[in-house]
């Protein structure tokens, strides 16, 4: 009966570990973490010697009279507003990414913590005083 109890504990712990690891792997794939890592690694392996891109362009001359100048400030204003919106969206995206990284970190830490405590429970169970006293009798 004692052996059955310990075996059951081991089986339950093993199921928990496998389930947690599977869920973790699925979460890593789902969040795109794995693809990001593989993309970075493939980028690393494909990186060759650095090159320098030189932008070339012709020179032009602006000609105009006094009349059309009035529309210029309005255009600048639009560009400014668009730039501000883009900057806001970019910082919001950056904070979202940080939150995602925090979630990934927490998920990995939880997975490992749960697995470690399960392993600890197994080893504690196999060396518990109850078992030792039972086997002695």
């Amino acid at each position: 009966m004692r052996v059955n109890t310990i075996s059951l504990r081991k089986i339950v712990a093993a199921i928990v570990i496998v389930a947690v690891l599977t869920l973790g792997a699925a979460a890593a794939v789902k969040t795109g973490y794995v693809s990001r890592v593989s993309r970075s690694l493939s980028m690393l392996s494909a990186a060759g010697p650095s090159g320098q891109v030189t932008a070339t362009g012709g020179s032009g001359s602006a000609t105009g009279g006094f009349g059309p100048g009035g529309s210029a400030p309005r255009t600048e204003g639009r560009l400014g507003a668009a730039g501000g919106e883009a900057q806001g969206a970019s910082s919001a995206q950056a904070l979202t990414n940080v939150a995602c990284y925090a979630a990934i970190l927490a998920a990995i830490a939880t997975l490992v913590g749960v697995s470690a405590s399960a392993v600890r429970a197994i080893s504690r169970g196999s060396a518990s005083p109850r078992r030792r006293s039972a086997s002695a009798t």
Partner: protein, 167 residues
């Protein structure tokens, strides 16, 4: 709670939050990203120095039976973290724009890929490290919270022999 343990917990929290913020350069700005990265490296070295007795004990007795498997696993993860942080720092210096490291490292297109790959893999290693020391962190965080609340600090738990969190 001992003062050194309080320092350790505060340092660990700072490293974790700082590392997460540094994962996204747009969140901090490039200048802060680069200076903050150097700061994290200094924090990492201080973290290792504060736990030097543990490192020394496990290094010298790594292959002996006295060191349990969980502690060996933690040690291997720590070595991976050391490699990861070193790669991040070196590649970061190689591609730095606001700090001039050209006197030390030549600029190359390969640094970016190495920096990103090392960052993601180190993030995973940090997660494993935190998970392996979750009990230690939980105990110390409770002690620190009690200390900050002005109440009596929770006594540090006596760790059983072979507990990998005893550091």
């Amino acid at each position: 709670m001992k003062r050194v343990n309080a320092v350790k917990v505060i340092l660990d929290i700072a490293i974790t939050i700082g590392f997460l913020l540094l994962m996204e350069p747009k969140a901090t700005g490039l200048s802060l990203h680069e200076w903050g990265g150097l700061g994290i490296c200094v924090f990492f070295v201080v973290h290792k120095l504060l736990n030097w007795s543990w490192i020394k004990a496990v290094t010298t007795g790594f292959f002996s039976k006295k060191v349990p498997a969980s502690m060996r696993l933690g040690y291997v993860v720590d070595v991976l973290l050391l490699v990861g942080f070193s790669l991040i720092a070196i590649s970061g210096m190689g591609m730095a724009k606001t700090i001039d490291f050209t006197w030390l490292l030549a600029r190359s297109g390969a640094w970016k890929g190495l920096h990103a790959a090392a960052s993601f893999l180190t993030l995973a290693a940090v997660g494993i490290h935190l998970g392996l020391h979750a009990r230690w962190i939980g105990n110390r965080a409770r002690g620190l919270a009690a200390l900050l609340a002005g109440g009596k600090a929770i006594a540090a738990p006596s760790f059983a022999k072979g507990d990998s969190d005893a550091r």
